[in-house]
């Protein structure tokens, strides 16, 4: 069974391209245009990994990570952002115990895919 990745990204064009890349890698993809939609999608279909932007309408990335990790503290998270948050990946240390990888936009997609392979090892 394929790993399910929840992609929260408000930039539609970027989300579509990312979806293409992930599908090609054999992942199952759920797209959400903002944090709130991602939270609702996660309730329907619990993801194995969250790939999220930080700045989004309704609920931002940090809020989304906190909400998802309140029930699943070990959920792996990959953050892609145009901002470099103060403290880097360490800034999310208190929002659960799971690993967090941080990528700056524009994304180096090869590096992102490599990180995903590490966090979600093949069966």
């Amino acid at each position: 069974m394929a790993w399910r990745i929840l992609v929260a990204e408000d930039e539609g064009l970027a989300a579509m391209a990312i979806e293409d890349e992930l599908l090609r890698e054999g992942y199952e993809v759920v797209l959400a245009p903002d944090g709130q939609a991602a939270l609702e999608a996660a309730a329907q279909q619990p993801p194995d990994l969250l790939l999220t932007d930080l700045r989004m309408p309704r609920l931002d990335g940090a809020g989304l990570i906190r909400a998802l990790r309140s029930s699943r503290p070990a959920l792996p998270v990959v953050v892609m952002t145009g901002y470099a948050p103060a403290g880097g990946a360490g800034a999310f240390a208190r929002q659960g115990e799971g690993p967090v990888a941080l990528f700056a936009k524009p994304l180096d997609m090869d590096a992102v895919l490599a990180a995903l392979r590490k966090l979600l090892p093949g069966p």
Partner: protein, 520 residues
Amino acid sequence: MALDPLLLPAPLLLPPGLCTLVDPDLIWLHLISDVATGLAYLSIPAALMVFALRRRDLAYPWVFALFAAFIIACGATHLMHAWTMFTPAYEAEGLIKAITAAVSVTTAIVLWPLLPRLLALPSPEAMAREVDERRAAEARALASEARSAAFIAHLAEALFVIRVLPDGGFQAETVNPAFERLFGISGDAMRHKPIETVVPAALLAAALPHWRQAAAERQPAEYVMEAETPAGWRVWQTVLVPMVGPDGQVERLLGSARDITMTRRLQADLLQSAKLATVGTMCAGLAHETSQPLNAAILWLRNARAAADGMQPETQVARLNTAFGVVEGQLRRAGDLVARIRALPGEEAGATHVFDATRTAEAAIRTAAGQYGPEGIEIALRNHPDPLPVRGAPARLEQALLQLLANARDAVQDRRASDPASSGQISVTLREEAGEAVVEVQDAGTGVPEALRDAIFDPFFTTRDPGHGSGLGLPLAAAVARGMGGRIYCHNAPEGGAVFTMRLALAPLSCLLTTEEARN
């Protein structure tokens, strides 16, 4: 006691009516009294004359002479009276009486007008009182002088007195300890020497126009100066007061200088901090907004590359791939710019810890020296100080120092373009000062024009031709300094060239040791 008249010659008695002294006892009484009085009257003037001769400071010494003459004359009448008891020299006696009368009347006449003046003379008591008062006043003056001296010695403001010489030259007369501290020039070394032999030339050149103006206009002058002094870079505010002598010429200039180096530094800090905060917010927003379309474009380019893979004919695919390569290269270039802008805000990314700035500086110098060595540019670390514990990310500080060194290298290159013989030296000084770690990078370039001093830390500000220098190096160094609780500023060295000074908050040395131990 009765005397026996037979033992002495009988006084010649006058015919009755002239003298009534018929009783021998009475005669003897008169005789002895007259002789005694006469002798005493001769003795008193002698004593008076001795007194007058010894006390040369007497007021009206002639009064003593007059009194002496008067008393001698009186004595003479008594002696003459005694004499006429034996010899009837009545003409002589009359003459002496007349002289006595003349002297007495003269004395009496002279004495009355003199009386008020004699009374006006201070009495010994008044004199003693006056002496006491004067002594007290003197003591008060001395105490006041001591107070002033203590005040001047401990005043925070630097005081100096400059003598204006007739030829228009200046000579240092005296300075207080605050002056010595502010300028690092010893007062003893300055005293009464021509000013140009004791004050550094650059400092004097800046001060002289103000001194000359104050001396010429005879008006107090106020000015602010900044210069490199033997005690370091200083900014001070001076008030000069010209002191005019009895001939109407300005004899001295009294100067007081207030050290406003720290105030200026704080003002500049606040300004730089506010500017960097604004710049930081702007850069963060710019980086975010630009990164979104770049991100989508790069992702779709990958998509396009994947779609083109395996297409026919191959010549078309090759052309397409060339186009993809160009577009991707340009997008990456824009992406790199965004990454550099994102690095500006100054908040330290990643974990911070206490580390030794000296080691970081040494590492940066090694890296830069390796790069600039082939260009004939030397980087010299002027001193090998103790560890300088600071808090932050060593990689960020090293990056900032590399930017300062790169800037110094560019300055040296620029100078060489116009003056090929100029020195290719960059010197770095590390020191601890007033609770701060100070890193100074001095180049042998042409210096930073005054008007550009603040602007050089603004992002994208550059004096270089388009394509050379992004204008992000110095802003990054400033942002790193700010992120580490410090700041950066620049001034021109007196010998030419710019000095960039980075001041960082010192962390406790014990934290450094703990960190180092943990690493070991």
